[in-house]
Every structure is written in structure tokens, then in C-alpha cells.
Symmetry: C2
């Protein structure tokens, strides 16, 4: 087998926080890789990267990072491209296939595998109880890559469907106002008593969770490290001594 | 600290398939538990359970399993309740909080933690490429716990929102016809060329993946071990030599 044939690319989800949320499969891929590519912030979190070539790049450089990884693998290198959370959910996996589709045809026979991970909404939900216990949706609130009208249409249908709604990337310094627009859509369609959960930096030392209501929530509380959950009408809180309430969405919906 | 205070309950997601999709956190909780409760099929998959009391029960016994786990923890035992995949997504976590809410008030001060895992749609998506690369929703197709009209309304809004749609529990021997009804709803709202993916027993030795279209798909192909993904209009396939096509949903949606 020639050098080119032995190259591979693994697209790896690191989980949202601590290394205890990494799967064995993801750990083995990182261990076996010669090159590790990712957003600089994520690379800084990784354990045990001695002897590997690290290629950190900025948020927004996803497509060129993906091309770089494919090119290295095509040259025979063992390459891991990492994302926080699950790489298939608003992570690097889609960028890799975008780059593969528009790249040299011979790269389509590369040994590529995507390795799943724990995405932020699952970790946030686990901390809070079981808010995703019934049907739900996930919406990336950034309009860097899609028109705001698409986001607004999705929020409207999600509210009408009765989904629990997970909002990824609710705000950033460049996009401080969209979360306010999103709340305006949701407040017009769901009762003010609807439970709303802000989960900031889940699994990190500065993790912050708060449970409030759609009427009382301050959308400005959300930043780029926040995952927001908007409950369904059936989503409930259970008060408990010595801690924030548990939140869950019952599995059953009774006939009206 | 008395015996009752040292008890705990961990609600643990095992991932959908092999133990390499288990997180370290989940493994440590299983290791530390004295009692492990779960659907008999999942218990049979667990590695290294010597010395533990296993309590297998049937599918459908979720609420009584949850009460049993809470009672054991209240008596001072270290208890793990397990689900395949992520326990917060159509798994045991919601049943545990249902049982907690309706159970003895003193159980609300128990040491309870939910541990996230890789849910089936993330694993299926990883095998296929990156079909969840844009906004998506997850719908449990079983109407055991909700009226079919709710499912139909959710499918309709999901299709109109342009979500990629993950269908959990699409069919069982007792519910062979709902998946046909679901396809009828989706076929009325999405083009026949929409990509459809059947992911059966993902991560298990008998895993089967197939990629077809909404027009050509045979809904009867789905069984209770199948996770179904219905693409958005933008979801695309990339042909490759020596394997099934990669499927991905681009991150961008251009202005119409």
C-alpha cells in the first residue's frame, strides 16, 4: 500500500465540555492522528497532543480547514478535524463534505469517517433534567449562512408544531439583535409561562444554568457560548430543595 | 452520613451501539452502581457487570422502572437506570422525572444526575456523512403516548419549516401502518426527489444503511430498530467509488 492509500480523515466530535464526555472512538482517532485541525479554542482543550501537528484556525474558516484536511489525507497523512459537541450538528462535518464535493474527484475515494459525539443540547438537557423528553428541533440562529427570513419561518413552524426548541449560536458580538427578534416570534406564538432555559458553557468550569419563562426571560443573557432551550407547552418544572428546579417534558400528550 | 444519604441515581445514555460510543462518565457511573435497571435488551449489551444486581424489564415498563430506581436510591443504594442512545431523547430520563414529580416529596432531595450520550440520529448521521448539517427536528412516531393528530401536525410543520426530519420508532409489529401515514404527509409537502435514509441497527453487527428518495422509498422497510432521516430540499448526495454515497445538508441556504 502506497503512502497515499494509507492516509485517512476522521471528523471528530469532542463533546461540549470535559473529556469525560468524549467517546472512546473519538479518543482513539485523536491518538492515531498525525495532524489535528480545528478552531483554536477547541484545540486548546484537547488532552495529550504531544507529537502531533496542530493546525488551529479561526471561527469562520471552516471550508478552508476542511480542504486542508482533505489535502493532507490525500497526501497520505492521518488527519483528525475536530468540532466541539457533535461534528454533524452545526460543526465541521458538513463543511468537509462541501469541500469534498467541490474538490478533486480522486478525493472521493479517501478513507473518511465521521465520529459522533454528545451535542450541546443533549448535555444541557441532561444538566436540567429531561426537557427534550418529547419531540424537539434544533435551529442555528446565526444568519451568516442563511437569510433571516428562513430562520423566522423555522421558528414559526417549530412553535406551531409544539416542538421543544433548541437554539444554537443565539448571539455573538456581531449579531446581538437576532435573539431579540427570535423571542418576538416565539412570544407571539407561545404562552408567557412557557419555560425557557439558558445553558451557558455547559460542562466547562464557568457553566451557568438558569430556568425562567418566555415572558420574564432577558434575551440579552444569551451569548455565543449559550445554548437556549424553549419549552413546549407541556414542559414542566419540579422544585427541589438545595438546587435549581428540574425541568422535563412529559413523554405523553393527552388528547385535547 | 446515614445510609439513605449516600444513595444516588444516575440516568445513563449508553449510545446506540458499541461500547466505543460510551462516554467515560457513563462508564464510571455503571462501574460505581450497585443496581442497574433497564430494558432487558440493553442490559444484555453492557460490558463488565459482575457483582451488580441487574433488573431487566420490558419495553413499556418505563414508569415502574423509574419508580423502582428512585425507591432503591431513597433506601441508600447506588443505582443506574440505562437507556440506549441518549437517555434524554425518547429514553428513560423523562420517565424518571415523571415518577419523581408524582412520588414521595422526600425523593426530590435525592442525588440524581442525568448523563448524556450519543443519540441514534447523531450516530446514523455520522455513518451517512452530515445529513443533519442544517436545522433539523426529531419526532417519535409512536402514538402510544400521544394522539396521531399531534404527530401529523408536527410532520406537517416540520416539512414546511424545511427541517431535516429524524423519525424515531417509525414502526413496530403493533404499529405497522403509521409510517405509511407519515410518508403520505411528507410526500404531499416535499418533492419526490428528497433524499431519504434508512439507518437500521446503527453501530450493531447487523447495521444496514440505505439511501433512497421520498418518491422511491418503501416505508415498510422501517422497523423498530430503524432510524429514518428525511432530507431537506437542499440535502445532497456525493457519489463515491466502492461505497454508498455520502449524504450531507449544506450549511448555507442562499436567498431565493
Amino acid at each position: 500500500m502506497g503512502r497515499a492509500e494509507r492516509g485517512w480523515l476522521r471528523v471528530v466530535g469532542l463533546g461540549p465540555g470535559p473529556s469525560e464526555w468524549l467517546t472512546d472512538e473519538a479518543r482513539a482517532a485523536l491518538h492515531g492522528a498525525e495532524h489535528v485541525l480545528g478552531y483554536t479554542t477547541y484545540l486548546a482543550r484537547l488532552p495529550a497532543l504531544e507529537g502531533k501537528l496542530l493546525h488551529g484556525s479561526d471561527n469562520g474558516d471552516e471550508l478552508s480547514r476542511a480542504r486542508h484536511g482533505l489535502d493532507l489525507a490525500a497526501q497520505g497523512a492521518r488527519v483528525a478535524i475536530v468540532s466541539g459537541g457533535d461534528t454533524g450538528v452545526f460543526g465541521m462535518a458538513a463543511a468537509v463534505f462541501e469541500a469534498l464535493e467541490s474538490g478533486p474527484a480522486e478525493q472521493r475515494s479517501l478513507d473518511i469517517r465521521v465520529l459522533p459525539g454528545v451535542t450541546a443540547m443533549l448535555a444541557a438537557a441532561a444538566r436540567l433534567g429531561a426537557p427534550l423528553g418529547n419531540d424537539f428541533c434544533a435551529i442555528n440562529l446565526s444568519d451568516n449562512l442563511k437569510p433571516w427570513a428562513v430562520v423566522e419561518n423555522r421558528l414559526t413552524h417549530a412553535a406551531r408544531a409544539g416542538f421543544v426548541i433548541a437554539l444554537y449560536n443565539p448571539a455573538s458580538r456581531a449579531r446581538p439583535s437576532q435573539i431579540h427578534a427570535a423571542f418576538a416570534v416565539l412570544r407571539a406564538l407561545r404562552p408567557a409561562s412557557t419555560l425557557v432555559m439558558f445553558a451557558k458553557a455547559v460542562g466547562r468550569p464557568d457553566e451557568e444554568l438558569s430556568v425562567t419563562s418566555l415572558g420574564a426571560a432577558d434575551p440579552a443573557q444569551a451569548d455565543m457560548r449559550t445554548l437556549l432551550l424553549i419549552g413546549a407547552e407541556s414542559t414542566r418544572a419540579i422544585e427541589r430543595p438545595g438546587g435549581p428546579p428540574w425541568v422535563y417534558t412529559p413523554r405523553s400528550i393527552s388528547t385535547p
